[in-house]
């Protein structure tokens, strides 16, 4: 069972890496917000699975806090980006 948790851990880490590359690449700002949201969800999963892997299920409190913070943070970011129409929506460049 421990090796299965390790495999799931590796899969979640690979997913986090891919979300990270999309956050760095993504041409529009909404790609990056989407990638950050996915990264937060994967962090929740990583902490939960890592807690079971090392036999410390107390980490689940932290996973719950992360899930809440991630949601609130994404909604806050979207509220702010609704009020600034400074950059072009297609790319993240300021029109000169």
């Amino acid at each position: 069972m421990i090796s299965l948790f390790f495999v799931v851990n590796v899969a979640v880490l690979v997913t986090m890496g891919i979300a990270l590359s999309r956050a760095m690449l993504g041409p529009t700002r909404f790609d990056r917000i989407l990638a950050v949201n996915m990264f937060g969800t994967k962090t929740v999963l990583l902490i939960a699975v890592y807690g079971f892997l090392t036999n410390r299920p107390e980490f689940l409190d932290l996973a719950l806090v992360y899930a809440l913070i991630n949601f609130i943070g994404v909604i806050a970011v979207l509220k702010f980006s609704a009020y600034t129409a400074m950059t072009d929506a297609e790319t993240d460049e300021v029109p000169r």
């Binding site: 880490l13 990270l20 806090v65 992360y66």
Partner: protein, 197 residues
């Protein structure tokens, strides 16, 4: 699967993510992207704290770094422009200062005891023994020793810290009240939306 290699593997992967994010934040010119990436940076470092068994520090890092700090930076970004101005010339002197400081700190870490070494000076202090022996059974009856130290044995420290954080929050709110917007609200929001306060 020996536990040391699992923890080492997760540590290596998370730290490499951290380094790549830091490099990207240093290179990118758009400040909104930098704020988003610093949010991920805080999430990652909180994950690293969890792997190192410091769950209370990870709580604080998650709430402050990934949540509040990102929102405050976005508030600040609302006051100013999003594109960072180009530097005039390559800055050599700050680079040298940063390298010297980093090198001095790396040299100083050679003298530190190993992580978790029981013969380290911080573990030899008699107060550590007192906290460990009496915190659960005798005095506090709280299972988490860190909580009992933070909440009761060093309660004045915690009082000072919460005062500082409260003052900072009040100061930020006072500063944000009289701001002038550089941007126009987008035209799509001109008609009233349902359910938006």
């Amino acid at each position: 699967m020996p536990e040391v290699t699992v923890e080492l593997f997760v540590d290596i992967v998370l730290f490499s993510f951290l380094v790549s994010i830091a490099l990207t934040i240093a290179r990118i010119r758009n400040l909104f992207v930098a704020v988003m990436l610093s949010g991920i940076f805080s999430l990652l470092s909180a994950g690293l704290f969890t792997v190192m068994d410091a769950v209370d520090v990870a709580f604080t890092e998650a709430a402050v770094g990934a949540g509040i700090s990102t929102v405050l930076m976005l508030l600040t970004l609302d006051l100013t422009t999003e594109q960072e101005t180009d530097p005039i010339q390559p800055q050599i002197f700050p680079l040298i200062v940063a390298l010297c400081t980093g090198g001095a700190m790396l040299y100083a870490t050679q003298d530190m005891p190993a992580f978790g070494d029981p013969s380290a000076p911080v573990h030899q202090h008699p107060l550590a023994d007192h906290f460990i022996n009496t915190a659960l059974q005798v005095e506090m009856h709280v299972p988490n020793m860190v909580t009992s130290v933070l909440g009761s044995y060093r309660g004045y420290d915690t009082l000072g810290e919460t005062t500082v954080v409260f003052t900072a929050a009040v100061a930020v709110m006072l500063l944000m009240r009289g701001r002038r917007r550089f941007s126009q609200p987008s035209t799509i929001d001109a008609e009233p939306e349902e359910g938006v306060s």
